[in-house]
């Protein structure tokens, strides 16, 4: 095999550069855009770098200090997009909801998965299939009834509604992954403990959970990430600015035709940082799942 032929190298590096450009250029552009005064950003002909870049948009989001360029124009732009100041709070909101969903997933998911993997009880097959099949219903199909149910409980604009909905949406996958993982643990370990007289609860607590811990954390983080990113339900469940989650705040900005773009980009930069920290552990979990067969394929 002529691995190192010049043509081959050109194709490989060319392709890699193209991919890197495609994937990363938008992020670079957003970071640059967030530091450029809006006047220069919207100028025609384009003149982004007329004034030195600055971090005043970030200053505004965190402290409320209006950037100089807005004051210079005399009349304060009415639409300075004060919604971007909701971004830090929205991140917090998303975190609260996603953490609760993660905890529910970890506890309920591990319990159910262990039972599906190791215990015998009536209706097991049916219950397992039902849980998996429930996710085949497209979310948009249950959006309206969910809304009406949430409304009849007077839970519109509450985190509880979001936590409940996201748990229902993420639990089937968590249960599946953990069931497959528990099955892969040698049964002999359980039997030894059983001979010692340990109950299933005890075996789960002292053997199952410690052994499956990396997978449990991975599945939990995966549920966290899905909840953190969810948009459709967040959009209609949350109705006040104080309760909006991050995707909803940023999504609503996009519908605002008078949005201030450098502000919005600063909002995106801040909103993306938590994702950066989450991405790597979740990714590891996915890849490990793939290679060990925990995710089917």
């Amino acid at each position: 095999m002529n691995r190192r032929s010049p043509t081959r190298r050109i194709v490989i590096y060319g392709g890699a550069l193209l991919l890197a450009f495609f994937w990363f250029a938008p992020f670079v552009l957003v970071i640059i855009g967030s530091t450029i005064p809006e006047i220069n950003l919207v100028a025609f002909p384009p003149n982004w770098f007329k004034d030195p870049p600055n971090l005043q948009t970030f200053d505004y989001i965190f402290t409320g200090k209006v950037p100089e360029t807005y004051e210079q124009r005399g009349a304060l732009r009415s639409m300075i997009s004060s919604e971007v100041r909701d971004v830090p709070r929205a991140i917090l909101n998303s975190f609260v909801v996603a953490t609760a969903v993660m905890i529910i997933n970890v506890i309920f998911g591990s319990l159910a998965a262990y039972a599906y993997a190791r215990l015998r009880f009536p209706g097991k097959r049916f219950a397992f299939t039902f849980v998996l099949m429930s996710r085949l219903i497209p979310t948009v199909a249950i959006a309206v009834p969910y809304y009406l149910i949430v409304q009849s409980f007077d839970l519109i604009n509450s985190f509880w509604a979001l936590i409940l909905i996201y748990s229902v949406l993420t639990l089937p996958f968590t249960t599946l992954v953990l069931t497959l993982y528990f099955r892969s643990i040698p049964i002999e370990i359980d039997e030894a403990a059983q001979l010692e007289g340990a109950s299933p609860w005890r075996i789960l607590k002292d053997i199952g959970i410690p052994l499956a811990l990396p997978s449990i954390i991975g599945a939990g983080l995966f549920a966290f990430m899905l909840s953190y990113s969810e948009f459709l339900f967040g959009l209609f469940i949350t109705t006040t600015r104080e309760r909006r989650t991050l995707p909803v705040v940023l999504g609503a900005l996009s519908a605002n035709t008078d949005v201030s773009w450098n502000m919005m980009m600063a909002g995106i930069v801040i909103g993306t940082i938590p994702t950066l920290f989450l991405a790597i552990p979740v990714w590891r979990f996915m890849v490990r799942g793939l290679t060990s067969g925990a995710i089917k394929g």
């Binding site: 552009l29 599906y116 969910y146 229902v168 299933p200 995707p247 999504g251």
Partner: protein
């Protein structure tokens, strides 16, 4: 790795035994108790909404009118509506374009990442960001790139002297469609590629050597060894991306709001605007049930079409 060998050695003889040994019996109550919280939560919030949607779909239901039973009227209205046909066509077109493109590009990217080159690891780690980003945020980032009036793409092309006047990326129907497709591919390609890469790496090296000995060309090796090896994963990726394409909502909402006109109004966006903008929950529910049934049929067809063993664990 140890797990794989363990499976091999214990595979057949123990498989039958295992079933007995795994279930010691006498713990029926414990088992039921353990699945209870998750099961009740999922069952309650699956059966109830679906039942409610079916009930709703047979009624005029909106905050401004009194509720009233109308039989299949909502279904007829939806089915005969021009906007429904339009949205259905858009969704179909969107899936028909994005799924094959994602599968083909996914294979190409996986083949690329399987080669050693400087920056390979950086690319693999970096590509998780587009995937991990909330889709609504992806739509927003790209909205600024494609924006007609001062978007980054127009500004860049103009500064480089490639164009003289700004291009209406988001207000021209066809360009807006292309834009939605590009953003969707940007966000979905990393996952497709990494799934295919994992499958690529599980193809035994021996088969390649054997094909090389037989004098197969690079393309011949790809066709006779790689492709059959990754076929199950190709199906899984296609199926997964099809589901993602059908349920795509966030990107459309953030990027185009379904516009210009209805050019990028996919079924999901249409359902949303029907229900929550026009506040017609009856028609919205009828629409939702039509979509649910359609995707169910689609899933069943695909599961049928799938090669054996693609979705079942290869345990023993």
């Amino acid at each position: 790795m140890t797990q794989a060998t363990e499976q091999h050695t214990t595979a057949k003889p123990v498989a039958a035994l295992r079933k007995e040994r795994r279930a010691p019996g006498g713990h029926a109550l414990t088992g039921l108790l353990m699945i209870l919280p998750a099961f009740v939560l999922i069952a309650l919030f699956t059966i109830w909404p679906v039942a409610r949607a079916i009930y709703q779909s047979t009624r005029i239901e909106s905050p401004i009118f009194p509720s009233q039973y109308v039989g299949f009227q909502n279904y007829r209205d939806v089915w005969n509506s021009f906007y429904f046909r339009d949205a259905a066509e858009n969704s179909l077109l969107f899936a028909l374009v994005t799924v094959p493109v994602l599968v083909v590009l996914g294979v190409m990217v996986a083949l690329l990442l399987n080669e050693p080159f400087v920056g390979n690891t950086a690319l693999r780690i970096g590509m998780l960001l587009p995937w991990a980003l909330p889709a609504a945020v992806s739509g927003l980032i790209w909205k600024w790139i494609f924006l007609d009036s001062w978007g980054a793409l127009n500004a860049g092309l103009y500064s480089l002297g490639i164009i003289d006047t700004y291009i209406d990326w988001l207000t021209d129907s066809n360009l807006a469609r292309v834009a939605v497709v590009i953003v969707f591919i940007w966000a979905q390609l990393p996952l497709a590629a990494v799934f295919l890469l994992a499958s690529l790496q599980s193809v035994p090296e021996v088969l390649y050597s054997a094909a090389a000995v037989d004098g197969a060309s690079a393309f011949g090796r790809f066709r006779t060894v790689t492709l059959p090896g990754i076929r199950p994963m190709l199906v899984v990726v296609a199926l997964f991306e099809l589901l993602m394409a059908i349920t795509n909502f966030d990107i459309v909402y953030a990027l185009t709001q379904g516009g210009p006109g209805t050019a990028t109004t996919l079924l999901t966006y249409f359902t949303w605007s029907e229900s929550f903008r026009r506040l017609d929950f009856g028609a919205g529910s009828a629409l939702a049930i039509i979509i649910a049934l359609a995707s169910l049929v689609l899933i069943l067809i695909l599961v049928r079409a799938m090669p054996k063993g693609a979705l079942v664990e290869e345990e023993a």
